[in-house]
Point group: C2
Chain length 224, copies 2
Amino acid sequence: MAARNNLKLKSAPRSPNIPGEMPAKRGRGRPAGDHAAKRAELVKVAIAVVAQEGFSGASLRKVAQRAGCTTGAVTYYFENKEAMVLAIVEGLWDEWDSYLAATEDDLKSGFERFLNWAKADESDPWLAGFQLIAHARLDPAFATIYQRRYAHYRKTLATRLAKEQRRGKIRSDIPADLLADQLCAMADGWMIMFPIEPERFEAERMKALLDAMVVLVSPRDDKL
Amino acid sequence: MAARNNLKLKSAPRSPNIPGEMPAKRGRGRPAGDHAAKRAELVKVAIAVVAQEGFSGASLRKVAQRAGCTTGAVTYYFENKEAMVLAIVEGLWDEWDSYLAATEDDLKSGFERFLNWAKADESDPWLAGFQLIAHARLDPAFATIYQRRYAHYRKTLATRLAKEQRRGKIRSDIPADLLADQLCAMADGWMIMFPIEPERFEAERMKALLDAMVVLVSPRDDKL
DNA sequence: GTTTTGAGGTAACTGCCGTTATGGTATTTG
DNA sequence: CAAATACCATAACGGCAGTTACCTCAAAAC
């Protein structure tokens, strides 16, 4: 009974690519191409796949095929499928946050630009975001992210609304945090329906919806 | 070369159970138990599984296990997995429609009872509905159902709102169909967030949200 | 009693998935 | 040049899925 040695001591995962950062550059190997850029490209492809096939339909193999490589490449940049999808989620929220930060002006044009953004690029980010929210319900790690991000989002919106209330541009008979909650829910609702009934969001109808939303939150002593 | 006879001519699917109806009763076999009831029970179990595991996590085997039977029973009542899930969707919408029909009174108490309904039974119907909406985006057959049902839902809501507008109970500066669209979107948005942040829907906060919604759609010359 | 039929269990077949191990190649450092 | 290393392709493994074929058993009709 001498032979008990084919345990292979796990061979510490050969790649140092846990975060989105440079791979530590202290080796002497290949030029390390542009690691972060390639990774970001894979994320983009993965977003498209999730948008069209859903979370469980977005297999590593499909992502690889779409990106023109093999699963070897994908697993090189992402330790897991979970890691890949987490990268997608964080990326989408970062995009959304920076969008929010960039719209300093009033609500209406803000929402308008938002909707145009959402319809661009075949609206992959929006569709993927929807699929991932559905998955968040099933995965505690996801749920935590969404709770944090959504809370921040709502707080930002509430702060902005409170400011507009002080300027008299938004009705003041509803507390800003409740208003933010309502607007946020409405946006989410549209996010749900947009993929299913895109014809309801043609330019004309969209404009009517936005105008109505502005009327809804305007002070009651406005025109008419 | 006489032997070429092990093609088994497909043996026309042995069960006549395509719809939810009785199995035609004209045979002389077993008493046909209560076919529809058993089927409905399986649907209920399937709803719970979808609610907790999502669409793709709800395998026939899991449904069978939860129902205390085997996949043989499930495939006896549903030709397909698709057939099973379609039964779920139609069932949930029927439930929702009959709920809508039962609330003849004003908006607020209607929404209140709706929310209580949604929180009951561990809110499986709501959770499952959310998961299935996400799947509707990926399956044209599903999308068609949701388009039809949602259109009906919104039309009902709009009709009711228009009546309230004529009675002066709802603000009239926004057309009823746009108002219905907005309220529907808000409800959908809450449906999204409820599974992820249930603590945001505690009794007190829920009441505040509902009150704010009523204020939002009230005529502007109301109290205060 | 025999046959028919409703009801459902058992298990095999095929296919896709995530994971992991391994091997190969190009490039940079020494 | 040689060694080390970043990058990636290939392929195998185990697991779970939907579907389908087959078998069993009880009850009703004859």
